[in-house]
Amino acid sequence: MTAAQIFAVIIFVAMFIMIVMDKIERHYVTLGSGILTLTVVFGICLHDGKAIWNTLALKGFATKDFWYQVTESESKGINWATILFIAGMMVMVEGMAKAGFFRWLCMKIAYLVKCKTIPIFITFMIMSAVLSMFIDSITVIMFLAAVTIELAQLLKFNPVPMILAEIFCANLGGSATMCGDPPNIIVGTSLGFSFFDFLTNTGLVAGISLVVSVIFFYFVFRKELVSGHGSNVDMSKFPKPSEAITNKTDFAISSVIFGIAVILLITHAVTHLTVATIGLFIAAITLITSGKHALELLKKVDYKTLVFFIGLFIVVGGLEETGILELIADFIEKISGGNVMLMIAIILWVSAIASAFVDNIPFAATMVPVIQSLAETSGLSLNTLAWALSIGTDIGGSATPIGASANVVGTSVAAKNGHPIGWGKYCKKLAPATIIVLAISNVYIIVRYL
């Protein structure tokens, strides 16, 4: 191993350990590690100014492909498209939350099913999955869990099973689209996939898995969910959905912007607008229409997450430029003995197990160049490997309370309202569901692509 490779690995491993230790905020960790990669690995060890420039990827902004892409292309270094898109969606989501959109939607659905526990349970699972296809799962669970607890108090049922099922479905829904979960945005923008590519590949298996999951959770949780009120629910005591709307004009505008975002994402393979353009456009119209509240929305954007991504991409760029990721790809090929089924299974299950315990974003960012290299050397389709990676990282995160952001937010909201969910309670129900969905996905990939 060269000095550059050794330092790239040390920085990466130290970064991962520090993220897990949670002593220093994770965006400082990745940014510090990124700066170390640029100075030590690229500067001192490699004396390679070009590698620094390539990793910073700033010239991408000036290319037409970054904004309007007719042919698929792959990106290296800092994935600015991912960062711009996430920033844009953050602005939009802040606007929607401020107008009361999410609370209104939850209450509306509860009303439509006449506030009956089991129908709420089923519709909230589906809503969690559908919303997570377009919106970050943290926001989805934050609102859904809060409303679930409110309804549980009114209807006298245990909210824990419902929150657990919502968390699982949010992660499942996120796997269905390119913008549903950060690993998918990274995979999609790095390898040049469209929203539609995800929907017709990971989306299909997510749909099948959702049906299975709803049935699974129904049988697992139905006894715990039996309402104390039975079938006679006095709906007059419930807060009206319209009470959730803070401002009718803002509500209408944010709903229209959300609709535009969904249409732009679904059609971006036809319009050739990249996710970076869509993110910027959505942010711009949200800010323009919010008038004097624009600054307030901008201040609420989670800049820490954006900085986290920038640092992360630089560190992964260090591993990529020094050839470490090729070594990992060679290792995977060697242990699978060239057996494609085994190779797919390794990518899917190793991604899932890793994502159950560590942040799936750094993992996915690291694995993208690995599967690129693996596809080149093994002859296996890059697309197939990409779907296995996406599904593995997205679904694997559901298995433990720390595997994905939605899990942390959901269990935290529950605990703060007197329903602590420990590892045992969480894993007892969601780990088997995760294994079932991963098994379905494994069979799906083999049947469809091999």
């Binding site: 309370p401 703060k416 602590p420």
Partner: protein, 197 residues
């Protein structure tokens, strides 16, 4: 000073809790220690035993994660609920004594806070723990070490300052020097002087 909040940090076996209880009695104000557990239990619907299990306990970092201020750790959530509860009490203008719970840091913004830290000589602490818990000398020593380690980890995780560092408190006192009663008398005088200022 119409409101006064007395926070008592303590080493295990230093009689910190007994001192806090006596101070609460002398000033005729409520004490939040075990009572805090019942209050949290009543507020959340948890059983006191469940709250006790996670009370002043440091979380296992490898099994927990924090996202945008949310944490999956039950210990973290119980701790935050206690901090919020104390903050609400302080904001309401109530005078009270609080034992532990990082109160010297969490309530620092209130000018009415009088923060104390009670420590003790190891021999005295061992004697006290042996008597109260009916333990051998060796067991008492390791019990003290275990309890103090837990308190230190809990405190240092939730606060930027270090547990027991005299700079965090208005007054740090070794209860073994004057004995428990004399220490209480001295602290009473100090608190009265602070209140009258």
């Amino acid at each position: 000073m119409s409101q006064f909040i007395i926070s008592v940090g303590r080493e295990f076996g230093s009689a910190g809790r007994a001192i806090a209880e006596e101070l609460a009695k002398r000033f005729d104000i409520p004490i939040y220690d075990r009572h805090l557990i019942t209050e949290i239990a009543a507020k959340t619907g948890l059983t006191p035993e469940e709250v006790e299990k996670y009370n002043e306990a440091p979380k296992l970092k490898i099994l927990s994660r924090r996202v945008n201020g949310y944490s999956n750790s039950i210990e973290d959530n119980i701790a935050e609920m206690q901090f919020e509860f104390l903050d609400e009490k302080a904001k309401s203008g109530e005078s009270f004594v609080v034992v532990g719970r990082c109160a010297e840091t969490k309530l620092r913004k209130y000018p009415s806070l009088i923060s104390l830290f009670i420590l003790g000589d190891m021999e005295e602490k061992i004697k006290r723990v042996m008597k109260i818990y009916e333990l051998s000398e060796e067991d008492a020593k390791s019990f003290i070490a275990k309890k103090d380690k837990k308190r230190k980890r809990y405190h240092n995780y939730h606060c930027s300052g270090h547990w027991g560092d005299s700079r965090l408190y208005d007054l740090s006192i070794n209860s073994s020097r004057l004995g428990i009663d004399e220490t209480i008398n001295m602290l009473e005088q100090y608190i009265k002087a602070r209140i009258s200022k």
